[in-house]
């Protein structure tokens, strides 16, 4: 009986979850174009990716650098702004909290593609909203997505807009879990608001912060749609991400083995971060 209830799930689980991990490990040791038979090449793909001197390997390391830049930059902004928003919305005297919370959360439910389209228009180098603003202030026109120095920061700003509502909700749950008695005791001891934040709120939120950092790391390390739609990796490869590299190699150049090796490397990094998360939080998923 139990098998009857489990069968559909287990089938999908094995075929599309567990199986692919092993399959991508096996594929990563082959050359495979999707048509002819895969050819076993040992660890050659890994060697070429990590230590190769050809352009492809250099591009991989560029994409690693870009992905790290994006991951850390987006994360730092999103976590700090998310915490600030949570503190504001949590303030006892604030009215219509649900409304403000909804406003901040709205971008989270928007698809990456729709968000990218909206921001393409806002960033537009001739008549985008931001350039109209700059014009109003008498400042020179900027090509936000065409300038190698500005492209990645522009994408990060958009991603922070899209994700900060999630961080806020997680921090709000964390704030509501801090025992009120701690603040009462601190007030009796004469602690100022700033001291209460520094010595009670922040330390009490430490597990939440850790959770936010890990979850954002995992999703940021796989960033794809924003770059694919807004810049396609350019200008001068400054926004090419690891996942975009994987997609290009697999579905443009049909180098499935090579792309699988890259995706397996990314998997190992993300899996290690997840394990660290479980170790520190002790399997507690409540954030």
């Amino acid at each position: 009986m139990a098998l009857l209830f489990l069968a559909p799930f287990l089938l999908l689980f094995v075929v599309f979850r567990i199986g692919p991990v092993l399959a991508s490990l096996v594929l990563s040791f082959t050359n495979y174009d999707g048509l002819s038979r895969p050819v076993w090449v040992g660890a050659a793909n890994y060697g070429n990716i990590l230590f190769g001197s050809e352009a492809a390997s250099r591009l991989f390391w560029v994409s690693v650098g870009n992905t790290l830049y994006y991951t850390v930059g987006e994360l730092a902004l999103e976590a700090s702004i998310g915490l600030a928003l949570a503190l504001l919305v949590n303030a006892r005297v604030l009215r219509i909290k649900a409304l403000w919370r909804s406003f901040f959360y709205l971008p989270v439910i928007t698809s990456a593609v729709a968000a990218a389209m909206i921001w393409l228009w806002i960033y537009n180098s001739q008549t985008g909203l931001l350039n109209l603003l700059l014009k109003g202030l008498g400042l020179p026109n900027q090509s936000f997505l065409g300038d190698p120095r500005l492209a990645m920061p522009s994408i990060i700003v958009m991603a922070v807009w899209g994700g900060v509502g999630w961080t806020m909700v997680i921090y709000l749950a964390g704030l509501q879990g801090i025992p009120a008695g701690l603040y009462d005791a601190a007030r009796i001891d004469g602690a100022s608001g700033w001291q209460q934040f520094w010595y009670i709120t922040l330390p009490q939120l430490q597990p939440v912060t850790f959770f936010v950092v890990v979850m954002s790391c995992i999703s940021n390390l796989q960033v794809f749609s924003q770059m694919f739609i807004m810049t396609n990796g350019g200008p001068l490869n400054t926004t090419i991400s690891v996942t975009l590299e994987i997609w290009l190699n697999a579905f443009r150049f049909f180098r499935f083995g090579y792309a699988s090796a890259m995706s397996f490397l990314l998997f190992v990094v993300i899996f290690a971060i997840s394990l660290l998360n479980n170790r520190v939080l002790g399997g507690n998923r409540e954030g």
Binding site: L88, P107, I109, M117, V169, L172, I246, F267, I270, L275
Partner: protein, 309 residues
């Protein structure tokens, strides 16, 4: 805001404390101004999207920009809807998101029922494996999943070995089925099913009700709040997904709305009015779901810590 005062303090305490109360109301007022300003910043891109979608081409480039157009130009929506099979994309997304959500609910609920109410060998071990699989990032399964979907036996002209045809590429099945068995859904529902008392199920069993009857008539109706939360996240996942449909569809007849937006962008490169109308249409269903069910969203996120890519 910082110091606690007794509610009656204002009436009986001397003047100096009255000043503190005035100061506190000023602080409260400033806090509301600050939060409102930040809200406007967060919502403004949406307002700008809607505003641009009803502007005529010449007004889009006007300086200084205006939020409320002088002339409402609704024909952008008609152009967006008719152009480049947009209605087809929208319909495909609706089919995929609705069917995908129903299928996910059924598959995850059945598995969750087995994991919480049925006893079999290795139950805990398998459940931990399922939980652990959440640490597998989607990207690692992308290429093998694509190859599997391409080689489904007997589908899309394939032989029994899964060769010769296109399998589930360019099909609703390929868009719906691979994502329908999420570990997250099983976890969420199992937590909920565990709270249904075993005595209730035993009573039903004594009355001659089998497992299928118990599942369909007792457990599922009781789990309505959890099912609601899961269906919202699942719907959002299917509606907003981009990478998977991008990989497995090349045929316009099966492309979803997110891909449609991309096709759109290539077509209306500088025609931002119809483009923003298209983005508004593509975003509207999620906004509607959010407005109707926002308490489930926020509670669900806080409960599970789910993070959308």
């Amino acid at each position: 805001m910082k110091a606690e005062l007794h509610p009656a303090a204002g009436r009986i305490l001397p003047k100096r404390n009255k000043n503190i109360i005035v100061l506190r109301s000023v602080c409260t007022f400033l806090l509301h101004i600050l939060v409102a300003t930040l809200s406007v910043v967060m919502v403004f891109p949406f307002l700008w999207m809607v505003s641009s979608s009803v502007k005529a081409q010449n007004e889009l480039f006007l300086f200084p920009p205006r939020l409320i157009p002088s002339h409402w130009f609704f024909s952008n929506y008609a152009r967006a809807w008719q152009a480049a099979r947009f209605s087809q994309y929208f319909g495909n997304s609706a089919v995929v998101a609705v069917c995908g959500t129903l299928l996910t609910l059924l598959i995850c609920a059945m598995a969750a029922y087995a994991f919480s109410k049925l006893y079999f060998k290795g139950r805990e071990a398998i459940f931990w494996l399922v939980l652990g699989s959440q640490m597998i990032p989607g990207i690692v399964s992308l290429i093998p999943s694509f190859l599997v979907v391409k080689s489904i036996p007997f589908a899309g002209g394939n032989n029994w070995l899964g060769q010769g045809g296109r399998g589930w590429l360019n099909s609703y099945a390929g868009l719906i089925i691979p994502g329908a068995g999420g570990a997250f859904g099983v976890f969420l529902l199992r937590q909920f099913f565990s709270t249904v008392p075993d005595e209730l199920l035993d009573a039903a069993r004594i009355d001659g009700c089998g497992d299928v009857g118990i599942f369909a008539r007792i457990v599922m109706p009781l789990a309505r709040p959890a099912l609601a939360a899961l269906s919202i996240f699942t719907f959002q996942g299917y509606w907003n997904d981009f990478l998977w449909p991008l990989v497995i569809t090349t045929d316009d007849r099966y492309r979803t709305i997110q891909l449609g937006l991309m096709v759109f962008r290539q077509r209306f490169t500088t025609d931002w009015g119809p483009l923003m109308a298209g983005v508004t249409i593509a975003t509207a269903p999620m906004l509607l779901v959010f407005l109707l069910a926002q308490r489930y969203f926020v509670r669900g996120i806080a409960l599970t810590g789910m993070r959308e890519g």
